[in-house]
């Protein structure tokens, strides 16, 4: 059999086209929020930038201070999320347009970091690749398991919010990010507090950070917008962004979420897009097997042909 260059090219084109078609046909389903998903609502219009949440987070999670020296003094004043800062208050704009924003893991409904993680180190609580004691399914909290993490940092590439942080100066580094203070859960308390209890929400003096069921927080956010339409910009960030997030955000009138450093994202999660495109050409694993069988068959037939002609030469 002779395969011409044109034939090869035709094959490649056909395979590519088939893959693209299959990709359009078999997109992965969108992930809906779990009914008992927990989350947080951050209301930028209530935040005064006191950073009590930041300090409480460090204490609750045993994180080192991130110090800067200035004017002869040393301050625990992180400039961004990092390996010892799981949440941070930042301010954007000035004057009338000034507003604070709280950055932390958004606990996406369909998280790209979870889709990207090779061995399920980054996973939705209770849905990892290995059973982990104490994890409850259905909370939707994105948690980290160091025992299966290879430190490849693909989660950092995948996260649209640049949330997972890496311990760059450690010989045995970890990925660090907010896990919604799952370790502070108190099973004796009712409702969402039995699953997690974020220290930041607990200490906020202005109730700018509220922890609870995602469905209730979403309703509360919409109620606030409806009650005071001139106070808010009218949108709940995280209801649909990137396939939805469990941490929701409200911003003041005239302020866009992009002004607050929250990326404009399509409604479908990047995880869904990536998985749909990547999986389509594989046809559930059929393509590689068929391709392998076809190649092995052709190669073996060609080799046999060579052998026969060699034998013929020898006998002559």
């Amino acid at each position: 059999m002779r395969i011409s260059r044109r034939g090869l090219l035709k094959g490649t084109v056909a395979a590519g086209a088939a893959g693209a078609l299959a990709g359009a046909a078999h997109g992965r389903e969108a992930v809906e929020p779990e009914p008992d998903a927990v989350g947080m609502l951050f209301d930028s219009t209530r935040c005064v930038g006191c950073r009590a949440c930041q300090s409480a987070c460090k204490t609750a999670n045993g994180l080192h201070p991130d110090t800067v020296s200035a004017n002869g003094g040393v301050y625990d004043a992180p400039l961004d999320l990092n390996a010892s800062t799981k949440t941070i208050i930042k301010t954007f704009g000035s004057g009338e347009g000034q507003a604070f924003v709280k950055q932390q893991c958004m606990h996406c409904v369909d998280p790209p970091c979870v889709s990207a993680c090779m061995l399920g180190a980054m996973h939705k609580e209770g849905e990892g690749k290995r059973p982990i004691r104490g994890e409850k399914r259905g909370t939707g909290v994105v948690v980290y398991d160091p025992y299966t993490c290879t430190g490849c940092r693909y989660c950092q590439i995948a996260c649209p919010f640049n949330v997972p942080k890496f311990e760059w100066r450690a010989a045995f580094p970890l990925i660090v990010k907010c896990e919604l203070c799952r370790h502070r859960a108190d099973p004796s308390r009712p409702g969402p507090l039995a699953l997690a209890n974020p220290a930041c929400a607990e200490v906020c003096p202005r109730r700018a950070i509220v922890y609870g069921w995602r469905r209730e927080l979403l309703a509360e956010a919409k109620r606030r917008i409806a009650a005071e339409p001139r106070r808010y910009n009218g949108h709940v960030y995280g209801e649909h962004e990137g396939g939805g997030t469990q941490v929701l955000c409200l911003a003041g009138a005239g302020i866009s979420f992009q002004d607050l450093g929250l990326r404009a994202l399509p409604d479908r999660s990047a995880a869904r897009f990536s998985e749909s495109v990547s999986h389509a050409p594989y046809l559930h694993g059929l393509t590689p097997i068929a391709l392998y069988a076809a190649i092995a068959f052709v190669v073996r037939r060609n080799e046999r042909g060579h052998e026969a002609s060699r034998r013929e030469e020898e006998t002559r």
């Binding site: 059999m1 889709s115 061995l119 290879t150 430190g151 950092q156 590439i157 997972p164 450093g261 190649i295």
Partner: protein
């Protein structure tokens, strides 16, 4: 394989130029890598939480393995298209591929923060099948294994000729067995790289908000697959030319001309896919007078130049121009890949990245180690088919299956 097509060990001094500078470069890289295991990745690199992969992933893995797919390219022609005349190119291309993938794999082990957990990669129940990186990792490791098995026949041939009866027995016994298993191995050697080279493009699908829309497309896997073939064929043409200059390796201009035409096809196909996709998605208005457009235009020119050159018969007849076009073809794929992973990767405001000296040292040193390893294996084992013309200043009749003198010396002194 006819008699004059038999590969021979090239022989010669192991430390002959350019070996010493190559080893020196690798020594620097080794020192940086050793330091990294004690101090962490931060002190040796400029990587950050925004640019978490630096240059090691885009260059050491994505570009090196792209160059290594010359093995796939030659395999497709020799075994699938049944063009036996390319048989002489198989061993050098497979060896280059095995080394390139080894470099990629070992660089990743240095780049992994929690490298010891890579031991868990073979544990199937832990696999997250949604992860493009898992597909790449498992597939690259499997292909690495397959490539070195494909190198084995050269080692076994050499063992069969060995003066030691034990080695000679092993070589004579296992070489034919391996030959019988080859068709099944070749199947893997084609499916695996097709899978992971496309997945290397697929890796960036999920970074949708960060990769510039001129580069981010659902066709990333297809574009990476085509670009690996254009890089691979270019690398083979360049390799054959260098081997001919250095060791008087057999160089059949007609074969190179065919490789050139095939490569021209892949390069044009890449351009058609790339431009067609942008036009189809309505992204052409994103072009303007800015740095990303400049990068895009440079990329297009890098693809267009070798595509056009390879198609011209006058170039196909000229060894120097062919070599130039081959290097351009490799550079085109390399620049496309580095652009996608790094140059147009924008994690957000406030992040910037330029590789540190340590990172550059590791990338350069690993490349040097690869070249050194290639030279040593070609000197000791029958990889290269040496041509009929007498070699100049090599002091040994070319074409004669020679035994590397230093091996003899080692054996007698032992």
């Amino acid at each position: 394989m006819s008699a004059h097509e038999t590969p021979v060990a090239v022989g010669g001094k192991l430390l002959a130029p350019p070996m010493k500078p190559l080893l020196a470069l690798f020594a620097v890289a080794a020192a940086v890598m050793a330091f990294r295991f004690f101090a962490g990745l931060g002190p040796v690199s400029n990587m950050s939480d925004g640019f978490a992969w630096g240059i090691w992933e885009p260059i050491n893995v994505v570009v090196f393995t792209g160059i290594g797919t010359g093995a796939l390219g030659v395999g497709l022609l020799t075994y699938l298209a049944n063009r036996g005349e390319y048989h002489g190119l198989v061993r050098p291309a497979v060896l280059a591929g095995a080394i390139a993938y080894t470099l990629g794999g070992s660089s990743i082990m240095v780049a992994l923060g929690r490298y010891w957990n890579a031991l868990l990669l073979p544990v199937v129940p832990l696999w997250n099948l949604s992860s493009a990186l898992l597909e790449v990792a498992v597939c690259v490791l499997a292909y690495l294994f397959v490539l070195w098995i494909e190198v084995l026949p050269s080692i076994l041939d050499r063992a069969a000729e060995s003066a030691s009866p034990r080695w000679s027995r092993i070589g004579r016994r296992w070489a034919p067995r391996l030959a019988r298993a080859m068709p099944y191995l070749i199947g893997l050697a084609m499916v695996l790289p097709v899978m992971h080279q496309s997945s290397l493009g697929g890796l960036m699908l999920i970074a949708e908000p960060k990769v510039h829309p001129l580069w981010h497309t659902a066709l990333l896997p297809a574009l990476f697959l085509v670009s690996c073939l254009s890089m691979g064929y270019g690398a083979v043409v360049a390799l054959v030319t260098i081997l001919n200059l250095a060791w008087n390796a057999k160089l059949d201009p007609r074969l190179l001309a065919t490789l050139a035409r095939v490569n021209s096809g892949f390069l044009f196909f890449f351009l058609a896919l790339r431009l067609g996709d942008l036009a189809w998605a309505g992204k052409l208005p994103l072009l303007g007078f800015d740095v990303t457009t400049l990068l895009f235009v440079v990329e297009l020119c890098l693809f267009l130049a070798p595509a056009a050159m390879f198609a011209v018969p006058a170039v196909q007849r000229n060894r120097g121009r062919m070599f130039g076009a081959a290097l351009l073809a490799v550079a085109a794929g390399a620049v496309y890949r580095v652009d996608t992973y790094l140059s147009v990767f924008r994690p957000g405001p406030g992040w910037s990245y330029f590789p540190s000296l340590g990172e550059i040292a590791v990338t350069v040193g690993m490349g040097a180690a690869g070249i050194a390893l290639f030279i040593v294996i070609c000197r000791l084992f029958p990889i290269v088919v040496v041509g009929k013309r007498p070699a100049v200043a090599r002091g040994r009749a070319p074409g004669a299956p020679g035994r590397p003198p230093e091996l003899e010396r080692m054996r007698t002194s032992a």
